[in-house]
């Protein structure tokens, strides 16, 4: 199996967030993966209530647990920081 690139994981994670949160106004390609996820500048227009849905979606889809070992707010800072976390955990393949 070939290893996914960081860009591919980022696209997959962005797609997952869009699907889980029923976001219809943007496509994954339009989302800047470096922009803080919960800032007003982010194309996804998320609020803090969305954070728990993202956490649960990541846990279920990639089989990781996001707990206090690394502060959640650090992991959820941006799409890129989520990708970094998944790579660090060796959890870049979806389990469901």
């Amino acid at each position: 199996m070939t290893q996914k690139s960081s860009a591919e994981i980022a696209k997959e994670v962005t797609q997952l967030i869009i699907e889980k949160l029923n976001i219809t106004h943007v496509t994954p390609e339009q989302v800047n993966i470096e922009t803080p996820l919960f800032s007003k500048d982010n194309e996804l227009e998320l609020d803090s209530i969305d954070a728990i849905e993202i956490v649960v979606a990541l846990q279920q889809s990639y089989g990781v647990r996001i707990n206090d070992e690394l502060p959640t707010r650090e992991i959820l800072n941006s799409i890129q920081s989520i990708v970094d976390f998944l790579v660090k955990e060796g959890a870049t393949e979806k389990v469901m």
């Binding site: 956490v55 707990n67 206090d68 650090e74």
Partner: protein
């Protein structure tokens, strides 16, 4: 910018424990955030209805400042605590301490921490930061919610230290005076576990500990009657998620942090049972996270019918059952 004694800044799950372990680390006592939380038996639950609160609320940890006090007592750390009515004197004392080469913990209103993004800053009088130096008129701040050391102007720090309202900081400062750099953690760990179990099971008040979880499960059924309209109810239901996940809890209402404490404790006291208890509370944490998710979805989708509230109530009741069994077993370990 210069900081006193090359303070090592680190992000943390929670501001109180993060600030505390940062201060202690700087003074030579290296301790992890979960270890500080566990020794200080920070894990808790309480459901409150009071005239002081606009709406019923719950807590998942002991009250602010308690972790600092209990850890200091348990590890025999001498911590100086200062409050000031006079703002000028309070700022001068801070300057004197910094000039003396000390790093100082401070209670502040989170809203004024302008190095953090605007969208996360809300008025909260019980935020803790370390003040680790001064550069001209700016103070150098180590805030465990920020990824790096930051600067804060003297005028904003003053506003933050003397913000008014509930749990006003009153200029509160604290710093370790005398510490043991390599304390034996075995007895404090065991004492912390026993006390946490006692707090969750035996405090004879009907709305704290496990009894508080059951109270929450019962009372949430009355929330629709206490709210003005659907918008108000959805706001209060979504707050469940915020209180469990979004306020520096380390996730799942501090249950994950307690699991990490037990994992670290197992190695120190050489007791594999604590590893098992760590796994169990981690799973209980997963269920709290599911409740958080369930509540967030309910609130967001305005799916607030009585059947849904009842379902949420039952999920919370099951947590009461799980924590009752859990802390009963944890109590038997020592």
């Amino acid at each position: 910018m210069d900081t006193n004694t090359n303070f090592k800044h680190k992000m943390a799950a929670h501001c109180e424990t993060g600030t505390l372990v940062g201060l202690l680390g700087n003074a030579g006592l290296e301790i992890t955030e979960p270890m500080a939380f566990g020794i200080a038996h920070g894990i808790f639950f309480g459901y409150f209805e009071s005239k002081n609160f606009p709406f019923p609320t719950f807590i998942v940890r002991t009250r602010p400042g308690e972790v600092r006090e209990k850890l200091a007592k348990s590890l025999k750390i001498d911590i100086n605590r200062l409050k000031f009515k006079n703002q000028e004197k309070g700022m001068q004392k801070l300057d004197d301490l910094l000039a003396d080469g000390r790093c100082v913990g401070a209670q502040v209103d989170f809203f004024y921490m302008d190095y953090l993004p605007e969208w996360i800053r809300v008025h909260n009088n019980v935020h803790f930061v370390n003040i680790v130096g001064k550069d001209g008129d700016d103070y150098i701040i180590s805030d465990s919610y920020h990824h790096q050391i930051a600067k804060l102007s003297a005028s904003l720090l003053k506003k933050a230290r003397w913000a008014g309202g509930y749990m006003a900081p009153k200029g509160f400062l604290y710093y370790p005076e005398k510490i043991i750099t390599k304390p034996d953690l075995k007895k404090p760990i065991i004492k912390g576990i026993k006390k946490a179990s006692w707090n969750m099971l035996n405090i004879p008040i009907p709305f704290v500990g496990v009894k508080g979880i059951y109270k929450f499960a019962d009372k949430i059924n009355t929330w629709p009657k206490l709210t003005r309209d659907t918008e108000h109810l959805s706001h209060e239901i979504m707050k469940i998620n915020i209180l469990l996940e979004d306020q520096g809890t380390g996730g799942a209402g501090f249950r994950y942090m307690y699991a990490t404490f037990l994992k670290q404790a197992a190695a120190i006291v050489n007791n594999p049972t604590l590893d098992e208890m760590s796994e169990r509370i981690m799973k209980i944490g997963d269920d709290w996270r599911n409740i958080s998710y369930f509540a967030a979805k309910m609130g967001k989708n305005r799916d607030l019918g009585s059947d849904k509230i009842k379902e949420l109530s039952e999920l919370i009741r099951k947590q009461g059952d799980a924590e009752k069994a859990y802390f009963t077993d944890l109590k038997k370990v020592y």
